[in-house]
Symmetry: C2
Subunit: 261 residues, 2 copies
């Protein structure tokens, strides 16, 4: 394992691009982009960041548009390993934070199996960026002392099944759902049927940090209908919990939606 900061440059650097706003990458992440011989990137990374690559760097888009598979995971793994073994400094640029729903583990494992030094440069994840845009905290002393990050949908597009929804519904926590839009009606109905307060304040943050960013706020029981009416689309997250209320208190809902557009 290469230890970042020890002076040696790794051969593969997994860099979190942040949530979409090019200024929300870290200073180190930006430095790695400028140093890279090859940037292997996802579909949703900001184009302004790719423009930071050196003139002779190669860029490969391995991103998956919904329903369109560019490169399979094992092909991505092979690409990283082959180029790094050839001595290229490879930056693997992923949206948000690579350790949070970023399919990081598979690629790190492949690099390690080939004895390639790696580093991970963490990034700002969409959950905190969405909260920041809405002016809310995800925790509050005495109010919300747990945060749960979850995916709303599994890899086949259905409702995520790898965890206990009843537990999520009952948790005294701020819930942050990634990939939330497609199954939002099912997610919210499931949470409410298992005991979550239908009046609990919720927020959908669509395209966080991007030009078409929108924030849609309302009670949990209505947020899916509101998001559908607004034709909210992927990428989007949903945040639900008491701190959402504390930020929206005093702001009339439609006015809030208008203000943040």
């Amino acid at each position: 394992m290469t230890v970042p900061g020890d002076g040696r440059r790794p051969l593969v650097s997994f860099v979190g691009a942040g949530p979409g706003d090019p200024e929300l990458i870290t200073v180190r992440g930006l430095r790695r982009l400028r140093e890279a011989d090859l940037i292997v990137h996802d579909r949703l990374v900001p184009t302004a960041l790719l423009a930071e690559a050196s003139a002779d760097a190669e860029l490969i888009d391995v991103g998956k548009a919904p329903g369109r598979h560019c490169l399979a995971q094992d092909q991505i793994n092979r690409l990283l390993v082959e180029r790094a073994c050839a001595g290229r400094f490879v930056v693997r640029l992923k949206g948000g934070d690579p350790a949070i729903f970023g399919r990081l583990a598979e690629e790190v494992r492949a690099a390690r199996a080939a004895r390639i030094p790696v580093e991970i440069v963490p990034g700002v994840t969409a959950g905190t960026a969405g909260a920041a845009r809405a002016g809310i905290s995800l925790t509050e002393r005495g109010g919300a002392s747990l945060i749960v990050f979850a995916t709303a949908t599994d890899r086949a597009g259905g409702l995520a099944s790898g965890f206990d929804w009843g537990l999520l519904a009952r948790a005294q926590a701020t819930l942050v759902f990634y990939m939330a839009v497609r199954r939002l009606a099912t997610v919210t109905a499931t949470l409410i049927s298992l005991g979550r307060d239908p009046g609990a304040p919720a927020l959908v943050a669509e395209n966080v940090g991007r030009p078409h960013e929108r924030l849609i706020a309302g009670p949990l029981a209505r947020i899916a209908a509101d998001a559908r009416a607004a034709q909210a689309a992927s990428p989007a997250i949903m945040i639900c919990g008491p701190t959402v209320a504390s930020a929206l208190a005093g702001l009339e809902r439609s006015r809030f939606a208008e203000m943040v557009r």
Copy 2:
């Protein structure tokens, strides 16, 4: 509410400094530091970041060393409001991500009550930075599809009581505990007594991104003793979950500790 990115500069910008490594601040956060008339900062923000302030900027440390209270929360609120009302551009610099255990809500509320435009610049939180340093992901498809961020201790230094420990113990999730060191033996014993696997892989990341960073890994039942033997101290996080194992598999424990020092 000021919408960051709309061209107007807010009067108070809450900026996440990241986990300790000065290069892990965002590009926008660094820009805000350089623009600030006044930087109101916590104890643990990197001094290299404070050196980025303009020559005529004022710096005020309101940080709390354990057991030593510099400025009470309402005094901090008042300071931000008074200076912003006087037309100064105030940056409130907080460690990690301000929305995650950063006492952000109180200060935003105070600013809003005074009709002061605010923005929040999110940051890299210690949980993902610690994972990155250990080369692990916090999620893995088919393995860990939930992440829980929790505080180990409440404001009085006791075991946190605002949430359901049984739920935490049973969750099929990666658990990330902040402020983890002081009560680590109690936290791990509680989790195990409520059903968490004592052999589950755990990691203590101390001083993430700082010169004296250390990573200590071991099974949940032993991690508190190992951390005590190593005299691990605050600030530190504890990560527990299956992806910790996947990263440590094949690395002999003591050798791991040695490599990452």
